[in-house]
Amino acid sequence: MKKFRVILALVLIVALVAPLGAFANEFKWATFSDPIDFNPALAKDSASSDVNGMMFEGLYTRDWSAKIIPNLASAMPKISADNKTLTIPLRKGVKWHDGKEFTSADVKFSIEFILNKSANSPRIANFELVDSVQTPDPYTVVLKMKSVDSAIIPTLANAYFIPKHIWEKVDAVKARESEYNKTKPVGMGPYKFASYNRAERVVLEANPSYFGQKAKIKTLVYTITPSQATAMVKVETGEAHMVQVPESDIARMQKISKVNTTVYDRVVFDCILYNIKSPFFSDLRVRQAISHAVNKEFIVKGIYKGYGSVANGSYHPKLAVFNPNTPVYKYDVAKAKQLLDAAGWKVGAGGIRVKDGKQFKFVLLTNKGNIMREKLIVEVQRQLKPLGISVEPRILEWNTFLAKYVDVGKFDAYVGGFSTGLDGDQTVFYHSDKAKASMNKGSYANPEVDKLLEDARATLDLNKQKQLYGKLQEIVAKEVPMTFLVYRKQALAVSKNVKNVRIVDLLGFNTGFPTWELTN
């Protein structure tokens, strides 16, 4: 009995004294959800995309300036005179993780897999204008388009390509359940799959036969914790090297001495979206008045604690297609009052504006769970009060918010957040055809805008696109279907033990990850 006690005590002491934390050659990324699909053509959650992004690559990729450059392809596509045929030469000698060569047959197979309705791929819309894929030889892909689609090249820069020799054995209907999607993915990127323990971790190993810059970090471990807060604790204790940090925690993480917390811009903006059919907001002058009356600097500083920047449009100023001449609504309460007066909204009893016997009182909605937006609607209420506009802020559960109000157009205005692509196409926000513009909830319609969007999509000339999208930005700024408030930021906390870390606005860190190194 005594001996047993001594042994127990010894075990406990050893347990307590043994060093904490990671093994020397492992890089641990603390995450907070299980990846679901390791087939990048099927994946839609961000945990899967993070992991797949290290195992799979696109025909093209982006350099640090977000410019599209060749990757698995050896050059930019050769485009036919009618802009409808793209001939893409492939890099030779690229190997899948199982040793088989990557060829044009894989590209053809992948696109056809995505277009196969039975596979139920979330990428189907990206390729819907592809008419056929031809493979004249193993290193040439010819894409025939039904109509010209400028969005196809950015699409090819995403990693959606899967090995034909593996996936042709799998019935498309059963693709999600397949072991190649769950436990045995085969990619061609800088890392290959090693193991996955659900709710614990995913392990990737550096791919020694990768065609590009080989990764310096040999083992990449995604530690799966139950929440973002827990994931951050892992980095604070030194049990992990990297974690994503939301705006609310940036200040705290920046005080921790063993990590560098880098804040970077994202192509995400928060805005007030108007229902153009609402009796209040059908008048352009009212929308302009509110755009003048909202103090965006104050919101960025107060609500976002400075981790955001003032937004004047849906195109982030760091995007290539951004138009610097887009008109800006300066904070100007006097001007806002003038505009409201001109629109016929005169100050009435109790200081609230009235027009045709109707008081200016409206409900400003947002969805529950987004703390920033919950604070935003109250702040907008406070800022509009001196104007004689009475706002009732209302926070709704997500499903109710969509199904009962937003989707059926039963709202005056709501505060929402949207993310845009890195390229110019924003058909989803502004096109009057709802089938094309699923996010145009406020029924904004302008034939000129429709034409600009369609023309830009139908040209592969980047300068022409820039010009068309520039014009679009000017019109949108003038017509204010939304009052843009803030571009959001995010942060990445990385242990100081990691060298060569590079994190760039809008792009994040993936491009440079292979050069990262662990030191002790």
Partner: protein
């Protein structure tokens, strides 16, 4: 005894059945739509949404869906996870051993502390020892597990850096006892805390009752050493009610595991259940509830039988 066991087992069947009906109703009535976890409802067409609904079997009316689920269960099939497209049975079997390890070590830890503490409080009743343990017990009962767990992480992981902030192991390639124990300490302490406090109070009153009995007085008057009186004669009898308690703490261990596993990133059934709830993954939710209720019912049956075995005076008919 056998008759009793069989009767209890038969009684358990309608009970489990009832639990599944209620659980199924509540899960399905809760706001939120599993379909929204698959797609962005802001960007998908109603046709896509309908197709997904059909593929998940959610287009049928609720009673039919329940019957389909029940039929599956009776043939040993708990269905497939909406989210992971993996059989629920496989997911639960993967997690259950982890939860059992945590629950067993929490139970051992809580008895290892509560029984001696209860005995001392009883022997030294109304002294500072007794008051000290009682105070600790009341604090233990009142501390919410989520807060206590976070405070332990703050102290032992962040400040002192002695113990890991979570996870079950840091070495996956081999089993290292020290590593596993280190990971077990904080979560089993949190999970065992609530039970520990109430067991201490039970043990105290049970011991108090026993040491007033005649046979204790007899033992003392025989001139036996106090240690022998307390531990040889008293403890055995005082421990009887604690066996029943074992049956009562099983539900607490399962509900506690939901919180503890989530705080300490423990890959067990509780965390599986909570993740499934957030993702509206009905088959996984139902699977976890079914397993938990079977274990709870079975556990309390075992405790009742154990009680009868330990105390020959008790007979079930």
């Amino acid at each position: 005894m056998l008759k009793y066991t069989v009767r209890r087992l038969l009684e358990a069947i309608p009970l489990v059945f009832l639990v599944t009906i209620i659980a199924y109703l509540i899960i399905n009535m809760a706001p939120g739509d599993p379909v929204n976890m698959f797609i962005n409802p802001e960007t998908s067409s109603p046709m896509d949404i309908e197709a997904i609904r059909q593929s998940l079997g959610l287009d049928k009316p609720l009673p039919i869906r329940y019957l389909i689920w029940l039929k599956g269960v009776l043939t040993g099939d708990l269905g497939k996870s909406f989210q992971h497209a993996t059989p629920v049975t496989e997911m639960i079997l993967e997690r259950m051993p982890n939860t059992l390890v945590l629950a067993v070590s929490a139970t051992i830890l809580s008895f290892a502390v509560s029984i001696p503490a209860g005995i001392f409080s009883a022997i030294k009743r109304n002294t500072w020892v007794d008051y000290f343990f009682s105070t600790i017990a009341f604090i233990g009962i009142s501390l919410p597990a989520f807060w206590f767990g976070l405070m332990l992480i703050l102290l032992f992981s962040l400040k002192l850096q002695w113990l890991p902030s979570g996870d079950m192991r840091s070495n996956f390639d081999q089993f290292i006892l020290a590593d596993r124990l280190k990971h077990l300490i904080l979560p089993s302490l949190v999970l065992g805390m609530g039970g520990m406090a109430s067991q201490m109070r039970y043990m105290r009153s049970s011991m108090l009752e026993v040491i007033r009995q005649d046979y204790i007085r007899t033992a003392r008057s025989k001139g036996l050493a106090e240690n022998v009186v307390i531990f040889g004669h008293g403890l055995r009898n005082a421990l009887l009610p604690i066996i029943t308690l074992l049956g009562l703490i099983i539900p607490g261990l399962f509900s506690g595991a939901v919180i503890t596993e989530t705080i300490f990133s423990w890959p067990g059934m509780g965390r599986l259940g909570i993740e499934a709830t957030f993702m509206r993954d009905y088959p996984v939710q139902m699977g976890v509830i079914l397993m938990a209720s079977v274990l709870v019912i079975f556990g309390s049956l075992l405790a009742d039988i154990g009680y009868a075995l330990a105390d020959p005076r008790i007979k079930y008919n």
